[in-house]
C-alpha cells in the first residue's frame, strides 16, 4: 500500500509526463506523416527529445559475438536504422557520424557521454550470435539521459532483416503506440524475368506476381505461368495474394495461398474476371467481370459462391475498393464519359459520384479505418498524379506533382504511407511516400513494376 503523499507525487509525475508527451505528439503531428497516434501504455519508458522536437535516435552496428555473425550484425543495425527512420516518429542520427563514439563491446560499456555529445536521446545497443543457421539477436533501447534500459529483448531468427523489422515494430509500439509497417510486404506485377509470351505476336512480355519486404528487399516470385499476371492484392491475413491471370488465355481471378503452395480459381471461368480485392474482414471479394456482356462490379464469397452484381450500367465499371467497414465500395465508371470515381453500397444502392473536378480518375483505394479518405490517380498535364479525396470534407489534396506519371496508389495498413507506381526514374517503378506526399522512396529497380498492394 502506498501512502497518500507518495500517491499524490506519483500522480503529479504522471500528469507532467502525459502533458509533456502530448506536447511532443502534437508537435510531431505537424511534421510527421500523421495518422492515428495514441498514448503508449507505459509513459515512464518513453524517451523524449528536446521540447517540440522528435527524440534523436542512434543505431550503431550491432556487435558480432562470433566472427561468422559479422554480416548479420551489420545488416540488423542498418535495417533497424532504416525501419525506425521510416515512420518519421524519431530523428535518426546518420550512421556516418558515429565514428567519434567509442564502440561498446557489451551493454555495460555504452559510452553515454559520447552519445549525448552527438545529441542522441536514445541509443540502441545490440549483439548477434550465430549458431548453425540460427541467429540470437539481443537488443536494448537505452535512454541516454537517464542511462536506463527501456526496452530489452532477445530474438532467435534465421533472417537478420526480420529481426530488425520486429525490433522496429516493437519499439514503435512501445514508444509511440504506433503500428509500424516494418514486417509488412508489398505485392506487385513485374516483367523483370524478361521472358516473352509464346506466340506469333511480337512485344508481349511475361508479367509475373512478386512480393517483397515493405522496403523492396527480399523479392520473391509468386507466379510462374509465363503469361500475363497483374493487379495483385493481399488477403487481410497476408497469407494469400489474389490477382488477374491470363494463364487460360481468358483473364480470370486466381488466388495463391503463398505459404501453402495452393492455387485457387474462385471465379472458375465465368466470363472474363479482373481486379479482385478482398473485403476488410477477408470473407468476400469484389471484382470486375464481363459475364453479363459489359464490365460491371460484382461481389462474391472468397470461395466463389454467392456472386452478386453491384453495378448495372452500359458504361464500363472497374477498379473496386472496399470501405473499411465493408459496407460500401468505391469504383471507377465511365458512365458519364471519362472515367470518374463513384461510391455505392455493396447492395447496389446509394450510388454517388465523388470526383467532380477531374478530367479522368481511376484506381480508388480506400484508406484503412481511422482515415476516411480515398486515394486515386487523376489525369494531370504530364500524365497522372496521386490525389486523395477526404470523404467527410469532400476536399481533394494532391500528393504528387508531375514527376513522371504516377498511378495505382495503395495504402500501408497504418494509413501513414502510400505505395504507387511512377515513371520518374525512367521505367515504371514502385515508390512509397508519406500520406502527405513527402519522403518519396524508390522500392523497385529491376524491370518494370506495376500495381502495388501493401499487406497488413
Amino acid at each position: 500500500m502506498m501512502n497518500a503523499q507518495h500517491t499524490g507525487r506519483r500522480l503529479a509525475i504522471i500528469v507532467a509526463t502525459v502533458t509533456l508527451a502530448l506536447g511532443v505528439v502534437r508537435a510531431q503531428q505537424a511534421q510527421a506523416p500523421a495518422g492515428p497516434a495514441q498514448q503508449p501504455s507505459d509513459l515512464s519508458l518513453v524517451i523524449s527529445g528536446d521540447p517540440g522536437t522528435p527524440p534523436r535516435y542512434a543505431v550503431p552496428d550491432f556487435v558480432a559475438l562470433s566472427p561468422d555473425a559479422a554480416d548479420a550484425a551489420k545488416t540488423v543495425g542498418q535495417v533497424l536504422w532504416d525501419d525506425l527512420n521510416f515512420e518519421r516518429e524519431f530523428y535518426l542520427i546518420p550512421r556516418d557520424t558515429y565514428a567519434t563514439v567509442p564502440v561498446a563491446r557489451s551493454g555495460d560499456q555504452v559510452p553515454f557521454a559520447a552519445w549525448r555529445e552527438l545529441g542522441a536521446d536514445a541509443v540502441v545497443f545490440g549483439t548477434v550470435q550465430k549458431s548453425g543457421q540460427n541467429l540470437t539477436v539481443q537488443v536494448r533501447l537505452l535512454n541516454v539521459r537517464t542511462r536506463q534500459s527501456v526496452f530489452s529483448k532477445e530474438y532467435l531468427v534465421t533472417n537478420p532483416r526480420l529481426a530488425a523489422h520486429t525490433v522496429s515494430d516493437e519499439i514503435h509500439q512501445q514508444q509511440r503506440a504506433l503500428k509500424g509497417v516494418a514486417r509488412t510486404k508489398l505485392a506487385f506485377s513485374s516483367d523483370r524475368n524478361k521472358e516473352s509470351v509464346a506466340g506469333p505476336i511480337k512485344n508481349r512480355d511475361v508479367k509475373e506476381i512478386y512480393m517483397s519486404d515493405y522496403d523492396g528487399a527480399a523479392p520473391r516470385r509468386i507466379t510462374t505461368s509465363r503469361d500475363l499476371n497483374i493487379t495483385p492484392v493481399w488477403s487481410p491475413d497476408a497469407r494469400a495474394i489474389a490477382y488477374t491471370s491470363y494463364r487460360r488465355t481468358v483473364p480470370d481471378i486466381f488466388v495463391s495461398l503463398i505459404y501453402q503452395g495452393i492455387l485457387q480459381n474462385p471465379t472458375k471461368g465465368q466470363g472474363s474476371n479482373f481486379l479482385p480485392i478482398y473485403s476488410p474482414d477477408g470473407t468476400r471479394m469484389a471484382f470486375m467481370s464481363n459475364r453479363d456482356g459489359n464490365p460491371e462490379i460484382y461481389v462474391m464469397n472468397v470461395d466463389g459462391s454467392n456472386v452478386r452484381r453491384v453495378t448495372n450500367h452500359p458504361g464500363g465499371d472497374a477498379s473496386p475498393t472496399w470501405s473499411p467497414n465493408g459496407q460500401q465500395l468505391a469504383f471507377t465508371s465511365d458512365r458519364s464519359g471519362a472515367p470518374q470515381i463513384y461510391v455505392v453500397s455493396v447492395d447496389g444502392t446509394n450510388l454517388r459520384r465523388i470526383t467532380t473536378s477531374e478530367s479522368y480518375a481511376d484506381r480508388p483505394t480506400w484508406a484503412p479505418a481511422g482515415l476516411n479518405e480515398i486515394a486515386f490517380a487523376a489525369r494531370t498535364p504530364g500524365g497522372f498524379d496521386v490525389k486523395v479525396y477526404d470523404v467527410v470534407t469532400q476536399q481533394t489534396r494532391q500528393l504528387t506533382f508531375g514527376e513522371g506519371t504516377n498511378e495505382s496508389p495503395a495504402y500501408s495498413p497504418n494509413g501513414r504511407h502510400l505505395a504507387f507506381t511512377s515513371t520518374r526514374a525512367g521505367r515504371v517503378q514502385i515508390f512509397t511516400m508519406t500520406r502527405d506526399g513527402r519522403d518519396v522512396r524508390q522500392i523497385t529497380r529491376d524491370g518494370n513494376n506495376w500495381t502495388p498492394s501493401w499487406s497488413n
Binding site: V197, G199, P200, I201, K202, N203, R204, K207, L228, I230, T231, T244, Y246, T249, V250, P251, S272, F274, L275, M288, N290, G293, N294, P295, G316, D317, A318, S319, T332, D334, A338, P339, Y360, D362, R363, A377, G383, F384, E407, S408, W450, T451
Partner: protein, 188 residues
C-alpha cells in the same frame, strides 16, 4: 480426385474427334476397279498390287492465298486488320467500321474460322480502368461483327488493357496503333 481429370480427358478426346471429323469432309471418289487375276498359274505371279484411295489435300479455292497458311503465319501477318480507336473511346468511328466490315467479308469467306478479338489501349490511360476500356473496345467490335451477320459463336473477346502494347514507343504514332481491337484467328 481423379474423376474430374478423367472427365476432362474424355471431353477433350471427344472434342478432338468431333473436331477432326468436321475439318475433313469425306472425299467422294470412284471406287478403284477390282483387281483381276488373269495371269496363268504356271508363271510366277507378279506381286499383287494392293491399294486403297488416299485422301487428297483439299484444293484451295480459286485465287486463295490465305486459306493455305498456318494459324501462326496468318496471325503474324493477318488478313484481318485491327480496328483502331480514338483516345479514351470505345466507339468505332467510320474508319473502324470500314475495317470491321472488310474483316466481316473475310470471315464470311472462311466460315470455319474462330476469332478472338483483343481489346487494347495505349499507355495514356490508367492500368486498371484500361482493362474495362479494352473490354468495351473488344465488345464494340464483336457487336458490330454480329450485326454484319457473323455468328457470335465464332467470336470471343479478351481485354488486355495497356498490358501488351504493339508499338513500344511513347509517341502519337505508337499510341494510335496501340488503341485497337486486334483480331487473332484461333482456329480455321
Amino acid at each position: 480426385m481423379r474423376r474430374p481429370f478423367l472427365l476432362v480427358l474424355t471431353l477433350f478426346i471427344a472434342v478432338a474427334i468431333v473436331g477432326c471429323g468436321k475439318k475433313k469432309p469425306p472425299i467422294v471418289q470412284p471406287a478403284p476397279p477390282p483387281a483381276t487375276a488373269s495371269t496363268p498359274q504356271s508363271a510366277a505371279p507378279p506381286p499383287q498390287r494392293v491399294e486403297e484411295p488416299l485422301p487428297v489435300p483439299q484444293q484451295p479455292l480459286s485465287e486463295d492465298a490465305i486459306g493455305n497458311r498456318s494459324l501462326d503465319d496468318l496471325n503474324r501477318d493477318s488478313p484481318l486488320k485491327p480496328a483502331l480507336f480514338a483516345l479514351d473511346s470505345a466507339e468505332l468511328d467510320d474508319m473502324g467500321r470500314a475495317t470491321v466490315q472488310a474483316n466481316a467479308e473475310i470471315l464470311k469467306k472462311y466460315p470455319t474460322w474462330q476469332v478472338t478479338i483483343e481489346g487494347h489501349c495505349d499507355e495514356r490511360g490508367t492500368a486498371e480502368y484500361n482493362l474495362a476500356l479494352g473490354e468495351r473496345r473488344a465488345v464494340a467490335v464483336k457487336t458490330y461483327l454480329v450485326s454484319l451477320g457473323i455468328s457470335a459463336d465464332r467470336l470471343r473477346t479478351v481485354s488486355y488493357g495497356k498490358e501488351f502494347p504493339f508499338e513500344p514507343a511513347h509517341n502519337e504514332d505508337a499510341w494510335s496503333k496501340n488503341r485497337r481491337g486486334h483480331f487473332v484467328i484461333t482456329s480455321k
